[in-house]
Symmetry: C2
């Protein structure tokens, strides 16, 4: 079995499942994306009718964008770095504040090939979700195949988290 | 020749060309996306090293998001609709204001399969670019194959516009 095919097939199935759960529950969803660069939003809005549940995405590729749009504190970026559970939490909570969406998900990680360190190797990814007034923070399994694979793996993890929470 | 393959191959080539021009000229790029749902940002940030030029994307799928993040005026949405040259212009200019990026591109259109009207059929797409203090507004050729194709065609048009302006 080709592991790439499996990943992309899983993505299609999970995206449809999450979309159906959101629609059935009448919930809106927004995303705050760093390493995935809009790919999570692109995947969900690929589905016809996604405007029923998808509200907005803020793709904060630069740190300045995280401060401007998501109210991430500069001290958080300085102390913990952009790729950290703390930054993921503030991204999701900031998005919840500005969007008012029912479910807000954030992702920050190192897609590679550059940017890895000993402490945070390529493939390190943190995800946070604000849902029903609570923030849940996760670290994805660290996977490093290549940049495209890693970004899609991040989305798979995000969809899996949403599927379990919804 | 498979027209889909051609489209997707062109996308890869054009994305790399635009990325190289931006990097060579030391320019930053941001996008404001409606119908493409983040796919333009996702395509450009797929390239390793894209953090050198890509700043942020604001995916304003809902009209409220256009008002919140891009300073689009409610009267513009009411009078001309979300899919219009006027809204495209305000999205790009609003993004230029909030981001300070050197080049700001917006896109609004009808990806289908629903949402088309006689006046604005599925495949109608408007793009605006703010570059060197000027705003350029374009209408893409109206193409309707299917939702995925239409969204990728929008991105092809956006990349072509940037390639010509840079």
């Amino acid at each position: 079995m080709n592991p790439k095919e499996t990943l992309f097939q899983q993505l299609d199935t999970l995206a449809e499942t999450v979309a159906r759960k959101l629609s059935d529950q009448g919930l809106t969803l927004s995303s705050a994306e760093a390493c995935t660069g809009g790919l999570f939003a692109a995947r969900l809005t690929e589905l016809a009718g996604s405007s029923r549940f998808f509200d907005r995405a803020i793709v904060t590729y630069s740190n300045q964008a995280k401060l401007d749009h998501l109210e991430v504190r500069p001290e958080t970026l300085e102390e913990y770095g952009a790729v950290s559970p703390e930054t993921a939490r503030e991204m999701a909570e900031g998005l919840a504040q500005v969007s008012g969406s029912d479910v807000c998900i954030s992702v920050t990680g190192i897609a590679g090939p550059g940017g890895g360190t000993e402490e945070k190797p390529v493939g390190t990814v943190f995800v946070a979700v604000v849902h029903q007034g609570q923030t849940h923070v996760f670290q994805a399994p660290t996977v490093n195949v290549n940049r495209i694979y890693n970004r899609n793996h991040s989305i798979l993890f995000m969809l899996d988290v949403l599927n379990q929470l919804l």
